[in-house]
């Protein structure tokens, strides 16, 4: 019976379906935990307690929030561009899911090892910009539009240093496959964060900018743009944006872990625990940024990318290439 089903559907498809199911569960649970963690981090950094009423340590708070969001009315403003308006929240969530497919959580735990894994992630994560633009344009609201335009400018500017810093890693590992890059960093001294510190720094800064988080949160700066591109969304549509934001956070941290922190490499404990420990540590660092740094101005944001990050990453790339040729 099972054999027949496998024969009909095919082993690969089953793997993908199971993998996507697992990824979906992971995404939802990690978002629930991260919203709680974000508020806890914020609270304690401001010497407050943060949520504590719902459940022990306020742990059930995100569930209560989710139920509230599901219960809300899905309001569609009168003059919106309906197809685009409705497509936005759905489109933002798809690339997020696909990016998880190529991330190796442990030596054997990966939905699919594609030999251009990094390119898949980069290609699909740039789609996020498109959905932000669509939802901002479709909302027929000046704040949404300004937010999404800013987001596009920012994402394009920071994608280049991001790519160049990844390329330095690819030079060293001779592979685009996430798994092979992780395998190339066995032992803590071989982690690329120590061999490519500049690339890691550039990559991490660009990641924070790509996920639209403080200090680069201009697309949704509350004090100037209400909520940026998701101003007009309510209920579950807003929740999807929220889900995508936090999942993007996990994805960039997971990619940074795989590319620079040795992925699932680590002593004694099983690899998956190391992987998630490193990933969530990076997530914590990004949250730490958010509750420490003020928002940058837009010209500072773009200048920083074009004038500092980009020359530095070019220099890093050329130096890496030259060194690899010499050694």
């Amino acid at each position: 019976m099972i054999d027949q089903i496998i024969n009909i559907i095919g082993m690969l498809n089953i793997r993908i379906i199971l993998g996507l199911g697992g990824v979906l569960t992971l995404v939802t649970i990690s978002t629930l935990i991260l919203t709680w963690a974000e508020r806890k981090v914020a609270g304690h950094m401001q010497l407050r307690i943060a949520p504590k009423e719902v459940g022990p340590f306020g742990l059930i708070q995100p569930v209560a929030d989710a139920i509230k969001l599901i219960g809300k009315e899905l309001l569609t403003p009168r003059d919106v561009e309906k197809p685009l308006y409705l497509l936005g929240p759905i489109l933002i969530f798809v690339p997020v899911l696909i990016s998880f497919v190529v991330i190796p959580f442990d030596a054997g735990l990966q939905v699919m090892d594609i030999n251009v894994g990094i390119l898949v992630i980069l290609a699909f994560s740039s789609l996020t910009v498109l959905s932000i633009l669509i939802s901002g344009w479709g909302s027929n609201n000046k704040y949404s539009l300004i937010g999404s335009v800013r987001s596009v400018a920012q994402n394009i500017a920071y994608e280049i240093p991001l790519l160049l810093s990844i390329l330095a890693v690819v030079f060293m590992s001779n592979s685009f496959s996430m798994k092979e890059i992780a395998e190339a960093q066995k032992g803590i001294l071989h982690w690329y964060v120590f061999r490519q510190p500049l690339a890691f720094l550039i990559f991490f800064i660009a990641c924070v900018a790509e996920t639209n988080r403080t200090p680069f949160d201009l697309p949704e700066g509350e004090s100037e743009l209400v909520a940026g591109f998701h101003t007009e969304y309510s209920g579950m549509r807003f929740a999807l944006f929220f889900l995508a934001e936090y999942t993007n956070l996990v994805i960039v941290s997971a990619v940074a872990t795989t590319l620079f922190l040795g992925g699932y490499d680590g002593p004694v404990l099983p690899g998956i625990i190391w992987f998630f420990a490193k990933t969530y540590f990076l997530v914590f660092v990004i949250m730490w940024f958010r509750w420490t740094f003020p928002r940058v101005r837009f010209d500072q944001l773009l200048n920083f990318s074009w004038k500092i990050l980009m020359p530095l990453s070019f220099f890093n790339l050329i130096a890496t290439g030259a060194l690899l040729k010499l050694i």
Binding site: H44, W288, T292
Partner: protein
């Protein structure tokens, strides 16, 4: 050079927040935890008990507070002279707390030192009249509770 100083300032900022992260919280969970009210807190005024006869206030109903009140919050300071006593004894002292500005002139000018600030920081009510108290009656209520 700017990059280095900038990076150092970012790091020092992060050091501050991470220190705060591990420091104990300073907020108080109000309905469940209540902090001590400091002795110099200025709540609404209250009448103080007389040492000689604790079931009575020190107020001699002279009306100086009523005349001195800049907001006209004190009204109807009345008293009666009881048999065999030299001073008057207050029978009514109306305080309109909605008009009171906590200036403390009444407390300072009182010749009998019968007034003091209470530590009552959270009076509530649904009407304006809920904040018009007869301090003599309030004093008797406090006595009864004690």
């Amino acid at each position: 050079m700017d990059i280095i100083t900038g990076a150092l300032s970012l790091l020092s900022g992060m050091w501050i927040t991470i220190k705060a992260f591990f420091r104990p919280v300073v907020t108080v969970q109000y309905p469940r935890q209540v902090i001590e009210i400091t002795p110099r807190f200025r709540g609404h005024t209250k009448l103080v008990a007389d040492e000689a006869s604790p079931d009575r206030t020190r107020c001699i109903a002279c009306g100086i507070c009523e005349r001195n009140c800049p907001s006209n919050a004190i009204k109807k300071v009345e008293g009666e002279k009881r048999e065999g006593e030299k001073k008057k004894t207050a029978t009514s002292y109306m305080l309109d707390f909605t008009a009171c500005s906590h200036c403390g002139i009444c407390v300072e000018t009182c010749p009998a030192e019968a007034l003091a600030f209470s530590a009552d920081y959270n009076p509530v009510g649904f009407k304006r009249d809920d904040f018009c108290w007869d301090l003599v009656k309030e004093f008797e209520k406090r006595r009864a509770l004690a």
